[in-house]
Subunit: 131 residues, 2 copies
């Protein structure tokens, strides 16, 4: 279990990349998760460690589009790498956590991921990512 | 430059610590920053890496109290460790960033810290912490 990345909702991917370049974050991968209606830019940390995942919606009626309309740009989620997403999800379900994804699904870069509802972690949206 | 911790606003420090224990985070230090009206619990990551800083307000008319009233519990800020907070602050000011703290000040644990206004990082409140 380690912090893999911090997800940040942004209106414009390119402007956001310039912003974080000030702190040494560099573009590592870019793409789209069409099932979630989101364009993604993954930024590598200058000295290794957790990445920043910039998320820009492809339209207003998408999860990140609705987030931006409600809260504006800013911190969106924390993603933790785990050896087995299905097992971690089952453990959290047993502990009473409400889940967004009942089973792991492919996320950015084809990694298996699953989201846990913010109610389980005091308002923090948590993503589990297969290592 | 590395991600030192993720700040999370919470209503109740003890309940929040139990929550994050599910992901292996363990209490490392606890205290109060009276000038900011906040009680702090620093949680160590299971495998090292960035810590979680839980922030509970001592009253409603404090920065974290107002944050909770407006947005509820959740992600609050990202803190980056830098070798020289004063220099990093000067660099950001030169680049046009709006600052919360014009000069470094003592933060939790006596570390020199300074906050940069969320407008400089697309809605993300950024803290600089002296290494």
């Amino acid at each position: 279990m380690r912090l893999d990345h911090v997800g940040i909702a942004v209106a414009d991917l390119e402007a956001a990349q310039d912003r974080w370049a000030q702190l040494g974050y560099r573009p590592k991968a870019q793409g789209e998760v069409s099932t979630q209606g989101v364009r993604v830019a993954m930024l590598a940390a200058p000295g290794g460690g957790p990445q920043l995942e910039l998320l820009a919606p492809t339209g207003p009626d998408t999860p990140v589009g609705r987030f931006l309309a409600k809260r504006g740009e800013g911190l969106h989620h924390l993603a933790f790498a785990v050896p087995d997403v299905a097992k971690a999800l089952a453990d959290l379900r047993s502990a009473g956590a409400r889940l967004v994804d009942e089973a792991p699904r492919p996320g950015f870069g084809g990694h298996l991921v699953a989201f846990v509802h913010p109610s389980a972690f005091g308002g923090v949206l948590v993503e589990l990512v297969q290592e």
